[in-house]
Symmetry: C2
Subunit: 182 residues, 2 copies
DNA sequence: GAACTATACGGAGACTGTCTCCGCTTTGCA
DNA sequence: TGCAAAGCGGAGACAGTCTCCGTATAGTTC
């Protein structure tokens, strides 16, 4: 990639990240990103063929954070229920960091063609590790995909209704209790 | 209302219902509804100022179905868990009857200005009746709004990912177990 | 049944968004 | 320094939602 292209690409991602974080995915137009990045829309679209691929680039660094959250939860000196709630809360928080992200990412679970496929894989394996880590404390037939979807659904609702954290917590406790062996 | 207006309005709702059901909310444009209803877009928009108010009119008859589903679930000669799962399944099924509905309706829970406010109220009171009907079988602090949101979230995910029924059932069982007293 | 007015109709087009096309510019290598 | 190849930018195609306003009609009144 040519140096000017590299510079533009990096600047676009930085600008887009700031815009998405403050205004949410839907409320930011591609024209706006182009203008704020001081490039033409053609340039923007050559780097990122769709708005979603741009979003995917913006979320690049998440994988590390996700894995760190799993480690932190499993390292907690606390009952399985606390560990699980800690992880679910962290997971939901990360999903709702950008307005509009939760629904989009969760909707593309299981779609290998989605631009978020890599993110989904990260979440799936994080949940798989969590399930293995908690072992028999969980009911036997829990699937990583199920956890991704249920928590993704809760996060999407929390996001779209702008629910306060403790309201989300209440819902995640219900989900956690449903996941634990009875 | 003038007779011609009444006729047009009724025809628009019928046509829109058929279109929404087969193609889903997002995939149907207002122009398409106008054309298929054989009215101008101006006429369509005078009857229904936004696409969502049109959708609300299309969903008119749902309240009765929702209440019937609660009655049916409570009348089941079965353990509380079965009754609860029966209701949650029915609820999620109704929400996903039109593609795109679940996310929209669930997102407007708690927003009195939404065109779906009446629908939300119906769902809330249905869940309230269910919670009262099941009584001490449920954990003590369950709120109707929580149930609406969690199940709405699961339904929205199921809808957007076009999940098979048994996959949804697995998730609803987890939710149900989380709602039941342990 | 003719005249009249409130009501309703319809479609052109304003506006906003995503994304494409293509002539011009710049980079980096020989 | 010259010259492809790579990159740039913005006009505009296209698709939505929704508004405006001139025209038509229902239904009432005499």
């Amino acid at each position: 990639m040519r140096a000017d292209a590299r510079r533009n690409r990096d600047r676009i991602v930085d600008v887009a990240r700031a815009l998405f974080r403050t205004k949410g995915f839907d409320a930011v137009s591609m024209d706006e990103v182009a203008k704020a990045s001081e490039v033409g829309t053609g340039t923007l679209y050559r780097h990122f063929p769709t708005k979603e691929t741009l979003y995917d680039a913006v979320l690049e660094a998440w994988a590390d954070k996700v894995n760190a959250a799993v480690d932190a939860a499993l390292a907690l000196k606390a009952p399985a229920r606390e560990q699980l709630i800690s992880w679910l809360t962290e997971y939901a928080t990360m999903l709702t960091a950008h307005k509009g992200a939760a629904a989009r990412i969760t909707a593309s679970l299981g779609d290998p063609g989605s631009p978020f496929a890599a993110k989904c894989e990260t979440y799936l394996s994080a949940n798989r590790r969590m399930i293995e880590g908690l072992g028999p404390a969980l009911r036997s037939e829990v699937e990583p995909m199920q956890v991704c979807r249920i928590v993704g659904g809760v996060a999407a609702v929390a996001d779209s209704s702008e629910l306060p954290a403790d309201s989300v917590k209440g819902m995640l406790e219900i989900v956690a209790d449903g996941l634990l062996a009875s």
